[in-house]
């Protein structure tokens, strides 16, 4: 520790800290623009100049390391003179038209100009004008306002991983721009809006729709990926106008993904279901809640009476709240059905009954940064978990070795140690090779089932990297969890982490992937899982928040099962044509912004939230709807007065973290499927397609990540099939789709191909691909 003095106050700070960090520790504010605690030091705005004893000139507080005995004066005459001088320079070319600027009222420059600016400018010359740039559908530019702090540039380079913005030209003509003809396409692009200290980068969907001081602020939790980012939902007149990050160093730090930031647009979608509806004689009618609930109760009671409770299936969105899931499973179990599942995209359920507990990340999210060796298995990491990818990106920069075993060679913008790309059917075998190689390096016996496995060079490289570390983790991504041999992958990961003495875990697919287990929204021993209840079609379904035709592993099968059912009761914030086709009753329930509830994130953290706005139209919180429905069905135990009551019953109290987290499986078979030949399909869940809300967010749907479907395959596969990149091709895999072919430059496994970015009516893993 070093002893210094700031404005006469003595304090101890860690060696290597800068003056601004020390001042922060003391609660002293030093004005600044370019400095940001998560970005590298640029020291270019010069606003943070302070006086340092014995230094001949003012020093930038952001870049000057403290030295023992240093005396700093942040408000001395010299310091304030320097700060005022910089403010004058910043303002000479900055438009002084705050009343028409979208940033007005929440602008760092405006705020500091009050403290350090003059009331009139001495600058009488012409002001600089900078042409605006098209950064895509999310970020709007007003570059004449730019003060060239380069926070946005450093963000894209350092946090998002690829320098999509740069400062071109020099001197007074310097301007921030993307590559010529390109937009900013990172899945984290919205953060540059927050970072911009002036109104140069603003939110395209939000700008000019409200003033910051007109907005009410509510804390909330992101309903999208498993991280559980904390949100500030800003509302006006009971309408969500904007979503900003709520800083939480343990989760989202100060960032948000674009999905989390802009999906609120879907809340105000024209497809919102605002009134209960029932289908009578094939005709939809808007009805009152009494009628709709009676209708739903009758329908379910009839099926239960006639065919038994097991004829009812419950399909729950993993983005539903813990309380909603808990009540649906309680209701269905009350009706005698064990057919409840929220793991809609999974295809291998053979681990059910063998699990020791709730699958989770296996560690705290904040501990990811402390790992020195990581193997990611089966994950479109950057798109499925942008902020976890970001954490790993920083780890890799600090020297952690990150490797990936996956079926698509997406650029993760992470410095990877080993990249192993294999066809989906080969993933278990390749992971087994790593297990074998690690066992050999460690001189440990290996499971007899793996006796015949021979480790290849890539597996040996991964193994060498893993055993050289002290804190290892094997992270199974969404693709691994949805894999047809997910249980085998899990068992192998368990074996591997056992050998390494590290941890293994699942990157939570959705906001409530852990919460679903905690809410017991999984089938009992006699029940059918998500896949089985579609294969063995039920008489009736209760659908909560999901659109099974889009959210299930086999959308076409889901559609068929729902269509043939006698009664489908849908609780959803949205309506769609498909829903109108298969449902009997539509109950409008609140999205996350209009209800209270909780999400349990991938590390098991229970995060409750309250409604930010009133329910839209006749919409009601789902937990209330379910309570009434259960009462109508005379299912006991639904005397809840609040969502907190529900949570308390579901979790046995109000814990900060759910109990029973355990990734272990007992008796998991390490059987490896024989290698297969043929063209395999690698389909991701496109980032802006993963749930009902984001599918209805117009700006996100225009983003580059929402581009039209395309098949990607490498040159060898294209040549083998007689196909030409850039042309349309017919894809046939139980269903048929017409897609554009893109050549993958990366050496994707020759037999694998990817249909990316949109769901396709394709059932089989095995596909044929022919010229269209």
């Amino acid at each position: 520790m070093i002893e210094i003095e700031i404005d006469g106050k003595a304090l101890q700070v860690a060696e290597g800290s800068t003056i601004i960090e020390a001042a922060h520790q003391l609660g002293t504010y030093i004005p600044h623009f370019c400095y940001h605690k998560k970005l590298s030091i640029a020291a270019n705005c010069r606003m943070c100049l302070v006086q340092v004893e014995k230094a001949p000139k003012p020093m930038p507080a952001c870049a000057t390391p403290v030295t023992n005995g240093m005396k700093v004066f942040t408000h001395s005459e010299q310091a304030v003179k320097a700060q005022k001088a910089v403010m004058e320079f910043l303002l000479i070319n900055h438009p002084l038209d705050c009343p028409i600027c979208d940033q007005g009222g929440e602008c760092q420059l405006q705020d500091l100009a009050v403290g350090y600016g003059e009331s009139a400018s001495k600058y009488q010359e012409e002001k600089r004008v900078v042409p605006d740039k098209d950064l895509g559908p999310l970020v709007s530019t007003d570059l004449t306002r730019c003060i060239n702090c380069t926070r946005c540039v450093r963000f894209t380079a350092e946090i998002a991983g690829f320098m999509e913005l740069g400062q071109s030209f020099r001197g007074e003509r310097a301007e921030i721009m993307p590559f010529i003809g390109k937009t900013v396409d990172t899945e984290l692009s919205g953060n540059i809006i927050d970072l911009c200290p002036v109104g140069a980068l603003t939110s395209k969907p939000f700008r000019f729709s409200a003033r910051t001081w007109e907005l009410s602020r509510r804390k909330s939790v992101s309903p999208h990926d498993g991280l559980g980012s904390n949100l500030i939902v800003q509302t006006k007149h009971d309408r969500v106008m904007r979503v900003l990050p709520l800083e939480n160093e343990d989760l989202n730090e100060c960032w948000l993904t674009d999905k989390e930031r802009f999906s609120y647009q879907g809340l105000n979608s024209a497809e919102r279901l605002t009134k209960p509806m029932v289908k009578q004689g094939g005709v939809w009618q808007e009805v009152g809640w009494n009628v709709a609930l009676d209708y739903a109760a009758h329908a379910l009671r009839d099926v239960a009476k006639t065919h038994g409770g097991a004829a009812i299936g419950g399909l729950l969105s993993p983005h539903a709240t813990l309380e909603e899931m808990y009540l649906v499973q309680k209701l269905l179990r009350g009706l005698g059905s064990e057919n409840i599942d929220f793991r809609l995209r999974h295809s291998d359920f053979s681990a059910d009954g063998k699990r020791r507990g709730t699958p989770w990340l296996g560690m705290k999210i904040a501990d990811i940064g402390g790992l020195d060796r990581v193997l990611v298995v089966g994950s479109f990491l950057r798109k499925d978990h942008p902020l976890i990818a970001q954490r790993l990106r920083q780890s890799a920069k600090r020297g952690a070795q990150i490797s990936i075993l996956h079926s698509a060679d997406d650029d993760l913008l992470i410095k990877l140690t080993v990249r192993a790309i294999a066809a989906p059917s080969q993933l278990p075998a390749r992971l087994a090779e790593v297990v074998k190689a690690v066992a050999e390096l460690k001189g440990r016996p290996v499971d007899p089932a793996l006796a015949t496995v021979g480790a290849g060079d890539t597996a040996k490289q991964i193994a060498a990297s893993l055993v050289s570390g002290s804190k290892t983790a094997i992270l199974l991504g969404n693709f691994a969890q949805q894999h047809p041999q997910a249980a085998t992958l899990t068992a192998l990961a368990q074996e591997l982490s056992g050998l390494l003495g590290g941890s293994f875990g699942f990157l939570g697919e959705a906001a409530n992937s852990v919460g679903g287990h905690a809410a017991r929204a999984v089938p009992g021993t006699t029940g059918l899982n998500a896949a089985a209840m579609l294969k063995e079609a039920r008489q009736a379904y209760v659908v909560l928040g999901a659109e099974p035709e889009l959210d299930c592993a086999d959308g076409a099968l889901a559609l068929a099962a729902l269509t043939q059912a006698a009664a489908v009761v849908v609780l959803s914030p949205f309506k769609s044509q498909a829903m109108l086709d298969y449902a009997a009753v539509l109950l409008p329930v609140s999205p996350f912004s209009e209800t209270s509830g909780s999400f349990v994130n991938t590390e098991g953290r229970v995060q409750g939230f309250h409604a930010a706005v009133k329910p839209l139209g006749e919409t009601r919180p789902a937990w209330k709807v379910l309570r009434v429905l259960a009462n109508l069905l005379e299912v006991a135990g639904f005397q809840f007065n609040s969502s907190e009551d529900v949570r308390a019953e579901a979790l046995g109290g109000q814990p900060e973290f759910v109990s029973g987290l355990d990734n272990g499986i007992d008796g998991g078979a390490l059987t490896l499927a024989a290698s297969a030949n043929g063209l395999e399909r690698v389909a991701d869940v496109p980032i802006h397609f993963a749930d009902a809300l984001v599918r209805r967010a117009p700006a996100l749907q225009q983003a580059s990540d929402s581009a039209a479907p395309a098949a990607r395959m490498n040159a060898a596969t294209l040549a083998k099939l007689g196909l030409v990149a850039g042309e349309r091709a017919r894809v046939d895999a139980g269903g048929t789709a017409k897609v554009t072919l893109r050549r993958s430059l990366m050496p994707v496994c020759p037999m694998a191909w990817c249909v990316s970015r949109q769901p396709m009516p394709i059932r089989s893993r095995w596909v044929r691909c022919s010229p269209f």
């Binding site: 030091i41 606003m47 870049a63 320079f89 010359e125 003060i147 001197g171 003509r173």
Partner: protein
Amino acid sequence: MALIDTINPLLTTGWSRGDAGWRLKDYEARGGYVQLKRVLASKMTQDELIAEVKKSALRGRGGAGFPTGLKWSFMPKAATEKYVVCNSDEGEPGTFKDRDLLRFDPHSTIEGMIIAAYAVGAKLGYNYIHGEIFEIYQRFEEALGEARAAGYLGDRILGSEFSFDLFAHHGWGAYICGEETGLLESIEGKKGQPRYKPPFPANFGLYGKPTTINNTETFAAIPFILGMGGEAYLNLGKANNGGTKLFSVSGHVNRPGNYEVPMGTPFAKLLEMAGGMRGGRKLKAVIPGGSSAPVLPGDVMMECSMDYDSIAKAGSMLGSGAVIVMDETVCMVKALERLSYFYFEESCGQCTPCREGSGWLYRVVHRIEHGQGRTEDLDLLDRVTDNMMGKTICALADAAAFPVRSFIKHFRSEFEYHIENKKCLVNPDVQRAGSGFFRASSTAGAA
């Protein structure tokens, strides 16, 4: 015009034959690479070498005048990956000495760099050559080829244990790339913008590795220092100002060009060597060290001698040794306008005071020159320059401010006249006559 005049030629020994004397064989005939051979053969230690350079009181010839031996001694001994970089990005208006050094005698710089690399333990070096002298870059590449072929560069130089290779890199003409850390950024392929210091290049230089970066002339002096010994070199000049120095004399003199004179030579002598004032006119002002150095009135300058200390005492800087001579036909407002435009144009745009201030200065001076000055403008310029100085990452803001402040300080009446009367104190016809552009032929002959 290779060499016009000199006292004690060292650096310019090889210049007398003009473009005919730059090749390796010519350099060797002049005693080139003898010092390198001696260093390698005698297995001189790094400390001995650095001590010799320290003894010579050689100070950085790029402008800052930092003691070279001291700079070399900052290089961490333990580091394995180190670089030496030569700054030939000679962009300062008025300076043209490195260009001629590399043109007429590139091997002295190469030899100097190899010896420097030996002294600091570097394996790799770069010479960053200004983008606007491309033919010089080409010549240097050719010279490097010769040196490589002769075994002066590469693995195990001349059979010794020492390996070093040197590459040329040409910039694209940005003045800011002459700032050493901006230069390093540029070599790395990034936008040429100075880095915040500390850390200094000796700890965190090229690609983040310890780096010694010196001016061309500094490196070129090394073989001569070793040849005559540090003490003898020091004695050529005066205390704390060792050796000889190249001065690029330009402006209203009869024979503009590079002159090598011992440090401490009176300015009057240098002016005399340069053929005296053109047309016998009166000396009005001199910028003694490149455009960023404060201007000095002619009479003050005539009392100065050409060394770091004397010029500093007079209130300016020796800088890179670019002596810009102005006679009585010069309108100081116009001259300043041109200089201010240069800094406005060349600011990298990184730091707020420089990015915004350099344009502000130019616009105000431009306005005064064009008859739209206001009475408060001189105070404004004083305030803006005061706000720019010492508040930026590199010294470009200071470089932009110094001329403005010194021009106004020494020639305030001309500025006031301009503002009041909307025209030049110096009659335009006189200015035209002095510029020489409108005369059919130049008077005094060049060598």
